[in-house]
């Protein structure tokens, strides 16, 4: 506890100097505590709150590159909602996110169960599984783009030589459904390790006794999975799915590199369309408005999932 100056005076000691008093002030719990939060708070204000505020302001103005905007209210939003390209983007985003997250969940649990077993080079392989998640997406997506190239597709070449496809094989990035499949496949490939590793952590924390008890009760492997593993994984799963949904919804790199939103805007996501309109096209106001559409949607998803987690 800090000693007040009066006590010191009473004890016949000299009054502390300015520095000492400053230190005394600083060491009070409520000052020191806030002092520690301050750097983080500053970072959040500068890098998150300020840009967010700016984009809200941009979205309400007809702000063009090179010419400061006038306030136009909800004009941008009205313009966007009526646009077929934007409507298509909303549809794409939901299809993309729901399918990709579903695949990542199922495959992620499966992969985690495999990694949970004891096998040779366990550590090495567990590490290697993380690779797709660690490599910069723009780079790994370039490799995928080359694999889906219309002229030199490795995927088609292999499948044709294995007799699975008839030449020339599908035009991956040029046909609506194939392009969406390609984009989802790359997203699943990239996001899977994140899922698997976190679910693996969840698996490790399940006490062995439950499995032994279930076995004694006569549960088979499916029964053990269904009644022991899955319920105990639920909180972990809910958090991973929440994170993954946010990441997937806001994906940018994969679409930008693979298809640039094509064919005919059937793979555009919010982020890629916002970039195209705002930065390529110079219409910052509309670009900001498009990217802000993400916000209420993600907020709704987060709200529902957090409630679910809390109830658990």
């Amino acid at each position: 506890m800090a000693v007040g100056s009066r006590v010191l005076e009473a004890a016949g000691l000299a009054r502390p100097g300015r520095l000492a008093r400053l230190r005394e002030w600083w060491e009070q719990e409520h000052v020191f505590g806030y002092g520690l939060i301050l750097p983080a708070l500053l970072l959040i204000v500068c890098l998150v709150a300020y840009p967010f505020g700016m984009s809200v302001y941009f979205s309400l103005s007809d702000y063009w590159v090179g010419s400061p905007g006038r306030f136009v209210g909800l004009g941008n939003f009205r313009n966007i909602i009526g646009n077929e390209i934007f409507q298509r983007t909303v549809y794409n985003s939901f299809v993309f996110t729901s399918i990709a997250v579903a695949f990542k969940t199922v495959l992620g649990i499966w992969l985690a169960m495999l990694l949970f077993r004891n096998f040779r080079f366990k550590r090495l392989i567990r590490g290697a599984v993380l690779l797709p998640w660690v490599i910069p997406t723009a780079l790994s997506t370039l490799a995928w783009w080359w694999m889906f190239d219309s002229l030199y597709s490795v995927v088609n070449w292999t499948a044709i030589h294995l007799g699975i496809m008839s030449p020339p094989g599908p035009n991956w990035l040029g046909m609506t459904n194939y392009a969406m499949t390609a984009v989802i496949a790359v997203n699943v490939w990239r996001g899977l390790p994140f899922f698997a590793i976190i679910v693996l952590a969840g698996l490790v924390s399940i006490p062995r006794e439950y499995y032994e008890a279930a076995q004694v009760d006569g549960a088979g492997s499916w029964g053990r999975f269904r009644h022991v593993t899955l319920p105990l994984l639920r909180p972990v799963l809910a958090v991973v799915i929440l994170f993954s949904t946010i990441f997937t919804f806001a994906d940018f790199n994969i679409v930008r590199v693979l298809t640039r939103g094509g064919p005919v805007n059937t793979t555009h996501l919010f982020a890629t369309l916002a970039y195209q309109v705002g930065l390529d096209g110079g219409n910052l106001g509309q670009g900001a408005a498009i990217s802000l559409f993400l916000f209420p949607m993600l907020a709704a998803i987060v709200f529902v999932q957090l409630r679910y987690i809390r109830r658990e």
Binding site: V65, L173, T259
Partner: protein, 433 residues
């Protein structure tokens, strides 16, 4: 001690911020030399030797005018953001590479260069018609056309010889030839996708058939017309009988790969595939040749990339910048620069186009003529933010893609018209006003 006034502080602080920003962006410390300094922001040229020559000339000019000339080059995709930032902060370089709608978007931020245009035009036999379309705004000339990049037809001579065909003079002939060539296993390659080439080629064909996207007023959509319908029908037939579905997924390099792989017989592109084959000593280089961009019922028109240089109004060296540009346009300098770029940089001035580098190589001989057909995107309307939005949203190639995928032509046109209307509307007032 005198207290610093708020204004002084702001000036020093903003100077420091901009200085720091450009320092970070360019990776080198700003030079606060005593000498006058002239700065030029350009792109990393596709032919690096061209930038080396530019820097050499900048140094030579610096010696003549007793100043320091700094040429900064950055990736072309980063230029728009940098340009916007300099306009916003009213500080940065003196000169700046511009293109497409830039002189119009930044009209009120750029210095008038009409005097220089007049002088250079008189000296070198006049500017090609596209110069006016791409740099003269309502308030005067706001940029100097610097160079354009020819966008001719590149074809495989062997494929054409095997089929017993001459090079096509019109798009209709190309369709006819393409059907034969595809049967031979050598399809035509015109991108119908989200890439710059798809835009360039569509504009060319649309103009050749007499179509337009906007009326000359720049506000009234004009895409719905019999002429556009004709163009879409042409594309549909070409797609079905002379091309392969891969064109729906192409990027800007795909057609280059297709012709270099010996598969495609004909593409619409700058001369880069030929130059690449030459540089890499690929055997196919002997089979590749060029001919002029085809024409149509309304004549020959094409939409090559046109690059210009502008001077910011906020520059303290406007006159010096003009002198520098004049220096770059001196015949011996411009000629050396053409040579350094290996014929890639085409002059916008008629007399400078007489350079032997084109006449000497039969595969290049027809290139300078392409300048006569060139227009800036948007023509007959002036370039504008709306046109830029139509471009970056790939509205025109998407209209064609919808049609070749089975959407009735009328509906595809109506869809494009909606998008064009929105682009014009999205621009609620004149840029820079």
């Amino acid at each position: 001690m005198r207290a610093t006034s708020r204004r002084e502080f702001m000036r020093a602080a903003s100077g420091a911020t901009v200085g720091m920003a450009s320092w970070l962006a360019l990776g080198k410390a700003p030079a606060f030399a005593q000498k006058r300094e002239l700065t030029f922001l350009s792109w990393n040229h596709f032919v690096p030797a061209s930038d080396d020559e530019l820097r050499k000339q900048a140094e030579a000019f610096g010696k003549l005018a007793n100043c320091e000339v700094r040429v900064d080059t950055i990736a072309h995709l980063q230029l728009p953001a940098k340009r916007a930032a300099e306009a916003q902060s009213q500080s940065g370089h003196d000169l700046m590479l511009t293109g497409s709608a830039d002189p119009f978007l930044f009209e009120h931020n750029l210095a008038d260069v009409g005097d220089l245009i007049g002088e250079l035009g008189k000296q070198y036999g006049g500017w090609y018609p596209f110069a006016k379309e791409s740099c003269e705004t309502a308030s005067g000339w706001k940029a100097i056309p610097w160079f354009w990049i020819s966008f001719p037809a590149t074809y495989n001579e062997t494929h054409f010889m095997k089929a017993g065909l001459q090079t096509p003079k019109t798009w209709a002939e190309l369709l006819h030839h393409g059907k034969i060539l595809k049967k031979q296993g050598n399809p035509v390659g015109i991108a119908i996708s989200h890439c710059a080439d798809a835009n360039s080629t569509f504009w060319s064909i649309l103009w050749c058939y007499g179509g337009k996207v906007l009326e000359a007023d720049g506000k009234t959509p004009a895409i719905t017309s019999d002429r556009t319908a004709q163009v879409i029908e042409w594309y549909k037939e070409l797609y079905r009988d002379a091309m392969e579905p891969e064109v729906l997924s192409w990027d800007d390099a795909s057609n280059n790969r297709c012709i270099l792989a010996g598969k495609c017989s004909w593409i619409h592109n700058p001369i880069s595939p030929y130059n690449l084959a030459l540089a890499k000593k690929m055997p196919i280089v002997d089979e590749i040749n060029h001919h002029n961009s085809p024409g149509g019922p309304a004549g020959i028109h094409s939409a090559p990339p046109i690059n210009s240089v502008a001077i910011w109004k906020f520059s303290k060296n406007v006159q010096l910048a003009k002198d520098f540009l004049k220096f770059l346009f001196q015949k011996e300098n411009y000629d050396a620069w053409i040579v350094a770029s290996n014929a890639f940089n085409h002059p916008p001035l008629k007399n400078l186009a007489d350079h032997p580098i084109w006449a000497r190589n039969p595969k290049f001989a027809m290139l300078p003529k392409e300048a006569e057909y060139a227009h800036e995107r948007g023509w007959p309307a002036k370039p504008s933010a709306a046109i830029q939005l139509v471009q970056v949203n790939y509205v025109l190639p998407d209209m064609v893609a919808k049609a070749v995928n089975g959407m009735p032509t009328k509906r595809a046109m109506a869809w494009a018209e909606d998008q064009i209307k929105l682009a014009v509307q999205g621009k609620l007032r004149e840029a820079g006003a």
